[in-house]
């Protein structure tokens, strides 16, 4: 079948309302106008508002000219994320053409993410991301947040016009489906997806995905499976194979899903969602190291995905790979710079985690960490110059870094000033800063001030049980993580010996644990209890009793809500009776 041969450049094309033919020429000849008229009222474009975002004025101008030639009458321009956001707040735009790279500040991808969260994009509005075609990792990352379309630079007016037509057509066809999706009305999503699948071959693939998603959401797993097998019977399709393994995960078959997803990724390493399901499958089997490996693989493909980076931080920390966790945190800070993801807490957590790593790494890495801490502290102050938390944290960091003697006059004065300042505007404190402040006093062995801070911060954050619990732990064990781990191990060994009634040997382990963690209620009470048992067979020993009393009195800070409080009271009473 020959659709049509015509003079000059003529392409035959099927649009919404049947066959139309259009010539592609710069001057918007009659044929292209005819094509536009056939799918939508051409005058519609006049009323559509467009926003073009690019940091280069000449590029904006070129795109604007093209759009005006296409028939749009309102084309606004912005050179960066902030002015674009301002324009989006002021005017409802129907179409946004945004370059990925916007110079300093957030990029196009983060802008789309932010606008969706702030509801600045109407459901029917279209967002097109413009990218340079050489950076495929950027394209893959950008596609993950699902812009309506993406254009690679450079593009001609014809390219733009064709994409615009297709885009508006797609939106018109898909809008009812998207509306149902928004309401999570899965039976309707399934019905419309089937209709689109039958009537619009161009959108068949997207419709099939929505259809399977709707079946999965309704827990019609067998039906979804047989639909997917039907597709795969015709030919291999990466997404369909991935969805089959996703269903296996839902059917609690993580081992089989793991094998299948690894095969998918070997064949199609850009299928990002397959990495996420694989990670889920591995997590379900407690394969921590493999989880980390596959997260790293996914991040190498699409390095700008913030959720995956956050997941990597948590997984690497669980795997005790503190260096990897901190490298991921550094990448996260860079990704978050000037975006809605940037926060003071993120900087502070990073610095604290670096300090923890420094307690268990070699000298070379320790030096690197010191430089990184200084750098991160500086960046925090630059990003949040007038923030009370940033200032206090920075002061505390300086105190922690100084190697001054505990009686150094300037050192003592700095601590005194910091202690007073910590309670000014206490309501403005964020948990990370509060915990770091208290930690600073404990590390300086100023236990009374540390305890006072914990007491007041616990009141301040009483609505956040997790923060209260962290403050309790800090108070009980104000020591570095590495020492905490060692003390925990010694305590466990002591408990084993105690259970075997080997009290004398257990005391030695508890004693070593106490030397590392001098305020830990569990360890102190185990130590005292072992001595009490030992004295049952050896008889009373005045020196031992005095020493036990001295040790147990370190727990004076325990509040009556603490789970060891009752045990502490009872044991203290027993000792005092002796």
């Amino acid at each position: 079948m020959i659709l049509r041969l015509a003079s000059q450049i003529l392409l035959s094309y099927r649009l919404l309302s049947g066959f139309v033919h259009f010539g592609l020429n710069l001057g918007m000849g009659a044929l292209i106008e005819e094509a536009y008229r056939s799918y939508m009222d051409f005058s519609d474009l006049k009323h559509k508002k467009v926003l073009v975002i690019d940091d280069f004025a000449n590029v904006r101008k070129a795109i604007r000219t093209m759009l005006l030639d296409l028939g749009f009458q309102t084309v606004n321009e912005a050179g960066d994320g902030n002015s674009a956001t301002k324009l989006m707040r002021e005017t409802k735009h129907d179409l946004v053409l945004c370059d990925f790279n916007l110079g300093k500040g957030r990029d196009g991808m983060r802008l789309l993410e932010e606008w969706r969260l702030l509801n600045l994009l109407a459901p029917e509005a279209l967002f097109v991301l413009i990218t340079g075609e050489t950076a495929r990792d950027i394209v893959i990352s950008a596609l993950e947040i699902e812009p309506d379309d993406y254009l690679t630079k450079p593009f001609t007016m014809e390219v733009l016009s064709i994409r615009m037509m297709r885009l508006f057509e797609r939106r018109q066809i898909m809008l009812p489906l998207l509306a149902a999706l928004d309401k999570k009305d899965w039976p309707i999503v399934a019905r419309i997806a089937r209709e689109v699948n039958d009537q619009h071959p161009r959108y068949r693939s997207a419709a099939q995905k929505y259809f399977v998603e709707a079946l999965i959401q309704q827990n019609h797993l067998t039906e979804a499976e047989s639909f997917l097998y039907g597709l795969l019977g015709k030919r291999y399709q990466c997404w369909a194979q991935t969805y089959l393994h996703r269903i296996e995960l839902l059917q609690d078959k993580p081992d089989s899903a793991e094998k299948g997803l690894k095969a998918v990724l070997q064949r199609s390493p850009n299928e990002m969602v397959a990495y996420d399901y694989l990670v889920n499958a591995l997590q379900a089997q407690d394969k921590g190291e493999e989880v980390q490996f596959w997260l790293e693989q996914a991040i190498a493909r699409a390095p700008r995905n913030i959720n995956r980076q956050q997941h990597l931080v948590a997984v690497a920390q669980e795997n005790l790979d503190l260096q990897r966790a901190n490298l991921a945190q550094r990448d996260l800070l860079n990704l978050a710079a000037d975006t809605m993801h940037e926060s003071l807490g993120r900087f502070q957590t990073y610095i604290k985690d670096l300090q923890h790593e420094a307690g268990s790494c070699d000298e070379v890495r320790r030096k690197e960490i010191q430089r990184e801490i200084t750098n991160a502290g500086k960046r925090m102050l630059e990003s949040f110059p007038s923030d009370h938390n940033a200032r206090l944290f920075s002061k505390a960091l300086q105190i922690q870094k100084s190697n001054a003697k505990s009686d150094d006059v300037r050192y003592v004065r700095s601590l005194k000033v910091l202690f007073e300042e910590s309670f000014e505007d206490i309501d403005e404190l964020i948990p990370e800063t509060a915990i770091f402040l208290a930690e600073t006093f404990y590390l300086a062995k100023r236990f009374d001030e540390g305890d006072e801070m914990v007491r007041r911060f616990k009141i301040c954050f009483s609505h956040l049980p997790q923060v209260v619990s962290t403050l309790n732990s800090l108070q009980a064990e104000p020591i570095p993580v590495s020492a905490r781990k060692e003390a925990k191990e010694l305590n466990s060994q002591g408990i084993d010996l105690y259970r075997r009634h080997e009290y004398s040997a257990s005391i030695q382990f508890f004693e070593r644990a106490i030397s590392l963690s001098p305020r830990h209620p569990g360890i102190i009470l185990n130590f005292v209890q072992s001595h009490l048992m030992q004295m049952k067979s050896d008889g009373k020993n005045r020196t031992v009793i005095e020493m036990c009393l001295d040790t147990i009195r370190r727990l004076h800070y325990l509040s009556d809500e603490h789970y060891q409080y009752e045990r502490y009271q009872k044991m203290l009473g027993n000792l005092e009776k002796l």
């Binding site: 079948m1 020959i2 003529l10 035959s12 020429n25 710069l26 064709i162 297709r166 071959p201 030919r235």
Partner: protein, 225 residues
């Protein structure tokens, strides 16, 4: 910085420069059109050479990635006509200016043919072929899209003098790249590699070249499983 990043950055810079040259040449053409059509046409040919440089950069980076095993296609279903139109639409102005018509035909009547392919790579491949064909055709370029024996066939025919004899067999040579003649065959070799990335069970994509027996024009065939 690794060599791939350096190459990608170089390609990016060169492409930006080429984009700028292209846009400036377009401005000159706009001024010349009507008053000096011959010069305008000469500039179109310069633009075509810019496209060839652009393709060369893409090939270089592509080959490097293929060699390193970091070149990963993204396959999905796409309407074949869309892919061909996207490739052609980058050349519309040039075709118009040179008086070359471009037609897309569907010999088996299926103008809504959907195929599983990497649309970006195939669009690039077709653009590559178009860059060369535009230089050699007289007045027309025809795309025929059909499914034959379970293969997608995209055929492009021009009405020029056809491929030279040496070119017709270049892909069958053990060392397809040659510096002996003016054309290295690099572009075709790249197209062949892109086609080969498309597989379906035992089948693997390929390209073939021939000359039309009647018109003698060049015929380029892309076969995807």
């Amino acid at each position: 910085m690794d060599i791939q990043t350096i190459m990608a950055a170089t390609v990016h810079d060169v492409k930006n420069s080429l984009g700028l040259i292209d846009s400036q040449l377009n401005d000159v053409i706009k001024r010349l059109d009507g008053s000096d059509r011959d010069s305008a046409q000469e500039i179109r040919l310069i633009q075509l050479e810019c496209n060839r440089i652009n393709n060369g950069m893409v090939h270089m980076l592509g080959f490097y990635k293929l060699d390193q095993g970091t070149f990963s296609p993204s396959f999905a279903e796409a309407m074949v006509a869309d892919v061909v139109v996207d490739a052609a639409s980058r050349y519309t102005e040039m075709l118009l200016s040179l008086g070359v018509s471009l037609t897309i035909r569907f010999p088996d009547g299926d103008d809504e043919c959907i195929w599983y392919l990497d649309a970006n790579l195939i669009e690039g491949l077709l653009g590559n072929i178009l860059t060369n064909s535009i230089r050699h055709t007289k007045s027309q370029l025809i795309f025929d899209i059909a499914v034959i024996d379970g293969w997608l066939n995209i055929r492009m025919t021009d009405d020029g003098a056809g491929f030279p004899e040496a070119m017709l067999t270049i892909l069958e040579q053990p060392e397809p790249l040659s510096f002996q003649s003016g054309a290295t065959g690099l572009g075709l070799y790249f197209c062949q590699e892109i086609a080969k990335l498309h597989t379906n069970k035992e089948r693997k994509g390929f390209i073939s070249l021939s000359n039309n027996e009647q018109t003698l024009g060049a015929v380029f065939n892309l076969w995807l499983p």
